[in-house]
Amino acid sequence: MAELSIDFAGIRSPNPFWLASGPPTNTGAQVVRAFEMGWGGAVWKTIGEPVVNVSSRLGGLDEGERKMVGLTNIELISDRPIETNFREIEEVKKRFPDRAVIASLMFGSREQWQAMVRRSEDAGADGLELNFGCPHGMCERGMGSAVGQEPGVLREITLWVKEVAKIPVLVKLTPNITDIVEPAVAAVEAGADGLVLINTVRSLVGVDLDRLVPIPSVAGRGSPGGYSGPAVKPIALRMVCDLARDERIKVPISGLGGVTTWRDAAEFIALGSTSVQVCTAVMHHGYRIIEDMIDGLSNYLDDKGVSSVQDLVGRAAGCVTDWGELDLNYKVRADIDPDTCIGCQLCYVSCRDGGHGAIHLPGEPLPSGHVAPHYSTVSEKADSPGPDSGSRGKRDRGTRQTDSEKSASPAPDSSLRVPWVDQTECVGCNLCSLICPVPGCVRMVEIQ
């Protein structure tokens, strides 16, 4: 069994999965339930001068039947009394001394910040997270992402906190900025012990086409919100990796943004995260997803012979380089397996209209001087390799057809529909392999 526990700048946690600051960490009762289910840590819903929140607050983006691949929110920080939050932090920490409890803070003045740092330490918090990322509402009041977008201000506030803090200080960054490295370096230079990213992406998730108002709407009006969920993961991965690759940043990173499964978590870790945080996935599915996250990550590490989660941290980050360092002599070409191709010809349409016109239908002639595919390397069963042959790729469907009754189920026959790739025209872009509905049917083969 791989070792899942981590030490994040001195904050210990039995596994790398922390609840991110947000609705799932709003109350002590919630965090207790999460810890009972196995979460390794929790970053409390940001504590500040209590706010009044709007109704409604959330808007989802669905993709087909999949609900909420993206979620936007216009909820602000905690609307509960400061003391209530600290009292509950104290109770939770006493009950779960082995878990990481981190107080997320957002205040205005130096006095307030420093008072609340002390109050957090009194409550027994293991660390502090400075919320410099919230992209809606709080930024209009000069806080949240307004700080994260101004490295000078970010540095100053971090210094205020570090003047008094005895526990690790984590700075949470906003992605709503041109270069994520700038504020990260400012934070590190000001003494931050760790970095947390990404906060939500400023967004407008949609328009209600019946009422012609933005989503979500508050009495018929809307305001840009913070975007999260699976849709933002690629943005988050890139930013995590930007920091992991920068030599000036020597503090641990807590990655978040669309983490839904152990696979997502493993990717964040491989690109440089020591811990990963989860919010939207819990809002969608509940705390119970932690069971598979721990189990899946553990099995993955075992399968790959990695002894601890710490050993995975940043393992893929070194392979990320500037574009200019990529090998221009490396070539791959698409290769369609006629044995598994079902003849939908989606690759043909994509390559013709959105690619490089390198995929052709059976019967289309090969331009002179161009190279046809060598199907013998893919399939021994392919009848004849010439692209002009109508029966190319034909094979016996009988073994795969369970219902071969004559008139009831005429077998669809793809043998005359298998497209072929003009090896001279193919640029190796991957598009056909991405849209092919059959796993493994279109392979990208390295050309020597």
């Binding site: 087909g64 039947e65 003849g343 010809q345 989606l346 469907r397 009831a408 189920s409 005429p410 059959v438």
Partner: protein, 493 residues
């Protein structure tokens, strides 16, 4: 359109049948539609006789453009709604779905087509989808004989080309076999009627109760109209042509299905020979006769045979057997339909042919009476003892093993039956066809046409549907009606 429901009385037996493929909810439809691969040069569309752009309309369902999906369907097939319900999709579009090779379940195209069209059929919003706007009237007139699917499709296309279309129908209601011949677990008559009247409302004139060749002469049609389309179907059930056939207990399958669907006074028990001990008068007899709904023999290997057999079994008839003169492999009906019939309890016996209908008394050569089998059966039932005394109640069939569909001498044996249903095809309309100059038919009674245009031997007469193809699907009739409409339009321009 709503009032069309009142034209059919309630209490029809078919109302007890529920669709085996339930309508989709919005979410179910969207989910199923998203499974469609959206194939290039899609095999499902190629497999559709009417040429419906299947991936095109399914894509529109995924985007919530249901009206657009319906329009895509109706443009290719005005009876897209009923075809969504009744098409043997397993043998057409769904059978060609490439997802089957993935391997994954094929997309349920029929149900999606029903989903896309159902809400528009019979509504003003739906009529808007059918009406052709901005079409110049040509002043040309086309007469269509028979108001079944072929004529409806042909007339609708003619109207959209600017021609005048007048349908002559000898019955009271439009729809043809779509109305009175579809298995009730696929489509109810009131829905077929609603659809037919809705198609007619797009500008087709319908004259019901008018039989061409009797109430109006063929010559007059050819005089008054620029072209004539024959969509007359195949008429009455064919006869077995064996001794003892005429008399109580032997019924035509098409005729029986029609009664199940349309006649509220029809009682299935009346088709079965009552047990001798229950021949008492009044309610007691009826109660006892329910027990007699057993021992039905269906003759034939086509889809009508499977339909009637399954319907009988579903209605509680015990012991329903299909006799077929060839092997199961050779039968023309769909295998999936036979499978469903078997699940309902129907027994299928191959290589067996009836050679004589056996009767209790007077079992003899009285079997060459006149008229259709169904009429003879009715007469026997309705007139009580009188005919029965002459002919005798049904006892069963004398059947023989068949080799290449012919009885083998010496293999005869008795096959007991309380009711026999003849489903060996329909007799055709030779009388009507003989009155149309230039119109020829082949040996099986089907109208001879040019395959590209549907034109008969008479250049101004076109034909389509069952009377041409010998009895195929609604979608084939639609395709053939469209084909003729295109040719007629070309001729009249």
């Amino acid at each position: 359109m709503r009032n069309s429901r009142s034209k059919l009385s309630t209490g029809r037996i078919e109302q007890g049948f529920q669709s085996s493929k339930l309508p989709y909810s919005d979410g179910q439809a969207r989910g199923e539609a998203q499974r469609c691969l959206y194939c290039h040069d899609a095999p499902c569309t190629k497999a559709c006789p009417a040429g419906v752009d299947v991936p095109g309309f399914i894509r529109k369902i995924t985007t919530g453009n249901i009206k657009g999906a319906a329009r895509t369907i109706f443009r290719a097939n005005v009876l897209g709604y009923s075809c969504g319900c009744v098409c043997p999709v397993e043998a057409l579009c769904v059978g060609a779905c490439l997802l089957k090779l993935a391997p994954a379940p094929p997309v349920e195209i029929g149900r999606l087509q029903r989903y896309a069209t159902e809400r528009f059929v019979g509504t003003p919003a739906g009529a808007y989808l059918l009406l052709a706007t901005g079409v110049k009237r040509t002043g040309r007139k086309v007469a269509l004989v028979g108001a079944g699917p072929a004529s409806l499709a042909c007339a609708s296309h003619l109207v959209s080309c600017g021609h005048e279309a007048v349908i002559f129908e000898k019955r009271d209601l439009p729809g043809g076999l779509n109305l009175y011949g579809i298995a009730p677990d696929k489509l109810h008559a009131d829905d077929a009627l609603r659809e037919a009247e809705w198609v007619l409302a797009s500008g087709v004139e319908l004259r019901t109760g008018v039989e061409v060749g009797k109430d109006v002469s063929c010559e007059r049609l050819l005089e008054e109209y620029d072209a004539v389309f024959l969509g007359v179907g195949l008429g009455r059930d064919s006869r077995l042509g064996i001794p003892g056939e005429d008399g109580p207990g032997v019924h035509g399958a098409v005729e029986t299905i029609e009664k199940l669907k349309l006649d509220p006074a029809f009682r299935l028990e009346g088709l079965f020979r009552a047990s001798s001990s229950t021949c008492g008068p009044g309610g007691a007899a009826e109660a006892m006769q329910i027990c007699d709904m057993a021992g039905a023999v269906v003759i034939g290997g086509g889809n009508t045979a499977t339909d009637i057999a399954r319907e009988l079994a579903c209605l509680g008839v015990r012991g329903v057997t299909i006799l077929y003169r060839r092997t199961e492999k050779e039968r023309p009906g769909y295998a999936h339909e036979l499978r469903a019939a078997r699940l309902a309890g129907v027994r299928f016996v191959e290589n067996t042919v009836p050679v004589r209908v056996l009767r209790e008394r007077g079992d003899a050569a009285v079997g060459d009476g006149r008229g259709a089998v169904g009429m003879a059966g009715d007469a026997g039932r309705e007139s009580g003892g009188t005919v029965a005394e002459k002919v005798g109640p049904l006892k069963g069939l004398l059947v023989a093993n068949a080799e290449k569909a012919k009885p083998v001498a010496g293999t005869e044996c008795e096959f007991p039956a309380r009711a026999v249903f003849v489903a060996i095809g329909q007799a055709g309309m030779p009388e009507l066809l003989s009155r149309l100059p230039g119109v020829e038919s082949d040996s099986s009674g089907c109208v001879r046409i040019d395959e590209k245009t549907g034109r008969t031997g008479n250049p101004r007469i076109f034909a389509g549907g069952d009377c041409v193809n010998g009895g195929r699907e609604v979608v084939n009739a639609v395709a053939e009606g469209k084909r003729a409409a295109l040719a007629i339009d070309e001729m009249l321009r």
